[in-house]
């Protein structure tokens, strides 16, 4: 058991070179992953700050904390920042960037310089977004519906649109890098069916990023042009059609939610396998369901438009297809649960997040069944029911997956262990805070409280107060990991190469890895999740303080 042995530190990607230039001009996928980690954490707290202000305003029925226009900007920018500057990059840009080459036995991604370009595009977009926020903000809702966004809003729609446009290219290039890497750079013996499910899910995510994001790009570009040059493509007073905007927008934005959840499912598979010490039950089904989600995800966009004015027949088709896309997700949940059967389970922090993920994703996913039912959707669309639904999946699912993954691979990334008891404590706080924040919103939604409301009728107050109380707890849960991860980089216990006894090529190199990942390029002769061949760690990791 390696503790702080007095040996000169091994050369790894962190200490190989020092200085700001070595970071800002790096092409090492691992350093780029850390650059992303810092940037998206920054935007997470900005988006979170907006969320807190929203929840504070909603403590009382009257609009008494901020003005209506300010509130409208708050929920707009909360959505834009959280979706485009946190959730979409999060797992792929941090964990994906770090792990994809390692997991397949490569030295780096296929295009390291494009990887760095991705990050710079993200930063440029982020700076533009920050400038937009600080010089007036935007109030169209993250969905930019026309003609409000093109002809009525008096806020910085063009700037926000351009910022998101640029961020979209960052996303596209990351996806492109992953697909080429996974196709062309697998180590000898690493066949497709030996790939970790993390890779399968990121592959599916990347396909969506490649095919869907350009449509958002052109849509935002057309909105920007319409605003700048007074075109009429989406404006009915000038011959245009606002529903055309909605179709184009949702054609990307629905698959986007799968960009946000598939990587979390990727983490889930790795964590569950490791802490049950078992191969994932139904490996091929889980792999194929990632692909199925990506494909079907492109076929259901108009379920966001059931009351928008589409025809009855369109609505029927999209409702039916939406039920189809639910099946692969259900398959995954059943397979993860079945993996626990006859496993050997330890309750580490990542595993606690994994349990939380299954529970909350299941709840969020089941409420999706409500929404796909046309008769129900008419009543609950554009209400807090929708807000609760997508937060269960994006926060209860994706963010928990992100945090679980960060904890799981932290030893590999930093060479240090985080304090386990604090990790478990924070996980619990996040889980409790989350449920208190968002469960009441399901009730609010069915009762009829519409979304994007600055003020509301008094009978909705009690549930809103509960929700706000939960959000403060949730905030604490999110701040804790930031604090102790930082702390651990200096004072954390030095980690073994494989503290969890996990399967996967990333655990067969040092913690942290050397710049070129492997001293000897691996040759793979075993199946994924070969836990029958890997001894469990000698003692419970949770014992360590």
């Amino acid at each position: 058991m390696a503790t702080a042995v007095i040996t000169p530190e091994r050369e790894n990607y962190l200490n190989q070179e020092y200085g700001i230039k070595s970071w800002l001009l790096t092409v090492d996928h691992k350093r780029i992953a850390l650059l992303y980690l810092v940037s998206i954490t920054f935007f997470f707290f900005i988006g979170g700050f907006f969320a807190l202000l929203i929840r504070l305003e909603l403590l009382t029925p009257a609009g008494d904390l901020v003005q209506a226009d300010t509130y409208n900007k708050l929920f707009t920018m909360h959505g834009q920042v959280m979706i485009f500057f946190f959730l979409i990059p999060s797992i792929p840009a941090v964990l994906g960037n770090f792990l994809v080459p390692l997991m397949i036995g490569a030295k780096d991604l296929a295009f390291p310089r494009i990887n760095l370009l991705s990050w710079y595009l993200y930063i440029i977009a982020g700076v533009l977004m920050l400038h937009c926020i600080c010089t007036g903000g935007v109030d169209t809702g993250w969905t930019f519906y026309t003609p409000f966004s093109t002809a009525f809003s008096n806020t910085k729609v063009v700037e926000a649109g351009v910022a998101i446009f640029i961020a979209g290219f960052s996303s596209i290039l990351t996806g492109l890098n992953f697909v080429v890497t996974i196709h062309r750079m697998r180590a000898p013996g690493m066949t497709w069916s030996r790939l970790p499910l993390f890779i399968w899910a990121h592959y599916a995510t990347s396909i969506i990023q490649l095919l869907g994001t350009p449509v958002l790009a052109i849509t935002l570009l057309l909105v920007v042009f319409e605003r700048l040059f007074h075109l009429g493509i989406f404006d009915p007073t000038r011959g245009g059609d606002p529903l055309l905007f909605q179709h184009l927008f949702w054609f990307y934005s629905h698959p986007a939610v799968y960009i946000m959840i598939l990587p979390a499912m990727a983490v889930e598979s790795e964590v569950v396998a490791c802490f049950t010490r078992k191969r994932i039950f139904g490996y091929h089904f889980v792999a194929m369901s990632s692909i199925a989600i990506a494909v079907f995800g492109f076929l259901v966009w108009a379920h966001h438009m059931f009351v928008a004015g589409i025809s009855l027949y369109s609505a029927l088709i999209f409702s039916a297809l939406s039920y189809l896309v639910a099946v692969p997700s259900a398959i995954k949940v059943f397979n993860w649960t079945a993996t626990m059967y006859k496993g050997s389970i330890t309750f580490t922090t990542p595993m606690l997040y994994a349990f939380g993920f299954i529970g909350l994703f299941t709840m969020g996913g089941l409420t999706g069944l409500f929404l796909a039912a046309l008769g129900i959707d008419v009543h609950v669309t554009d209400t807090y029911f929708i807000i609760a639904h997508f937060h269960y999946i994006m926060v209860g699912g994706a963010v928990m997956g992100y945090l679980g993954g960060l904890h799981f691979w932290w030893p590999k990334i930093s060479g240090r262990m985080y304090p386990e008891w604090l990790g478990k404590f924070a996980a619990l706080i996040v889980f409790l805070g989350f449920n208190l924040t968002f469960f009441p919103q399901f009730i609010l939604g069915y009762m009829g409280m519409p979304r994007r409301y600055w003020q509301y009728p008094p009978e909705f107050q009690v549930l809103n107060v509960l929700s706000t109380a939960g959000s403060t707890i949730l905030a604490v849960g999110y701040v804790l990991p930031m604090v102790y991860f930082l702390w651990s980089m200096r004072y954390g216990k030095i980690a073994d190469d494989n503290p969890w006894g996990a399967a996967g090529l990333e655990w067969q190199t040092t913690s942290p890895p050397p710049t070129f990942n492997f001293d000897v390029p691996p040759v793979v002769t075993w199946e994924a999740y070969n836990y029958d061949q890997i001894p469990a760690p000698a003692e419970e990791v949770s014992v360590e303080r």
């Binding site: 009525f152 039950f281 398959i331 299941t362 069944l369 129900i376 008419v378 009762m447």
Partner: protein, 322 residues
């Protein structure tokens, strides 16, 4: 439910019960599924926690299980789909002889007009037990007409008519919300639907406006704007005779056939060249910008009144982009 903490919306229309029934079914189904999964996880977590001397058993999978838990949920999903679709079909099919109320949404208020001429702002009076069909358009951005107690919601778009319908079952006052974000005072664009006993409603109606019915106002505009010069009541006019056309198919110059519904009338006034009737020339002037939303509503009501049944009850022809 509880007085200070209501947890369920009022049920005040014929459709509300149907929606609630499906919702409760889904609640039970989801509750059951959640419970099943949670219990299984808890049981597995406890039973199969790491114990010295017991290794995990490597199980590859089970195709039979995979097929079962794919097909069974899919089957259940299809049932839910069909049930939801059935409700939706009812929601989207207004009864033939529903009374009509025209709605014009604008930032940030609802303007409603009964055919008898009563105008209301942010309030809608309706009698219990009568089918009411709303014919709605927006003057500016997209809004959405939402009455939780009736479980109805429909986006209200600029440039076209959309419809919704309900039959109220319980007298009372119910929230009307705008449910599509529309700018500054989106959350202030709320109102009330007052459902009254039929006698009370009649009383309210007769105390009502002096501005004349929608159709009679429409007739005045029809004359003022000169429509009557071309659209004569014989076949000599330069424009088609409008008597009896509403709700019937119309043959167009380019070979298409369309149904003359509210959207068709409205489009023909604002953009006449879009659909030219067979046998006529495209010489009708464009009235875009020359008529207000209210005037359009009244003109449409007038043209409808020239047909056999005042409220034809046909489905408004829906969007071009589907």
């Amino acid at each position: 439910m509880f007085d200070n903490l209501p947890l369920w919306p009022a049920r005040a229309s014929t459709g509300a019960g149907n929606v609630d029934a499906l919702y409760i079914f889904l609640l039970l189904l989801s509750g059951f599924m959640c419970l099943a999964i949670f219990v299984m996880i808890v049981v597995f977590a406890l039973r199969y926690r790491r114990q010295p001397g017991r290794a995990a058993e490597q199980i590859e999978g089970s195709t039979a299980l995979e097929i079962t838990w794919s097909v069974v949920p899919l089957g259940i999903f299809m049932v839910i789909f069909a049930w939801g679709a059935f409700i939706f079909f009812q929601e989207r099919t207004p009864p033939r002889d529903a009374s009509e109320v025209y709605v014009v949404a604008k930032q940030w208020m609802w303007k409603l007009e009964h055919v008898e001429g009563q105008r209301e702002i942010n309030e809608l009076h309706v009698p219990v037990g009568r089918d009411v069909k709303l014919i709605m358009t927006s003057q500016d951005v997209i809004h959405s007409f939402y009455v939780p107690a009736f479980r109805i919601k429909q986006d209200v778009l600029p440039g076209r008519y959309t419809t919704a319908w309900f039959r109220a079952t319980k007298p009372g006052v119910y929230h009307l919300f705008c449910a599509e974000y529309c700018g500054s005072q989106h959350s202030g664009m709320i109102g009330q639907v007052m459902v009254m006993e039929p006698a009370q409603y009649q009383a309210w109606l007769s105390g009502g406006s002096t501005s004349g019915s929608l159709a009679s106002n429409g007739q005045s505009i029809f004359q003022q704007l000169g429509c009557v010069t071309c659209h004569r009541s014989d076949t000599q006019g330069r424009g088609p005779n409008l008597a009896g056309i509403f709700g019937k198919p119309v043959q167009l110059e380019d070979g298409r056939t369309v149904v003359a519904d509210e959207n068709y009338i409205r489009e023909s006034i604002l953009s006449p060249s879009a659909k030219v009737v067979k046998g006529f020339k495209p010489i009708m002037p464009v009235f875009q910008g020359l008529v207000s939303e209210e005037q359009l509503t009244e003109l449409v009501a007038y043209v409808k009144s020239l047909s056999a049944a005042p409220s034809a009850g046909t489905k408004v022809q829906e969007s071009k982009v589907q």
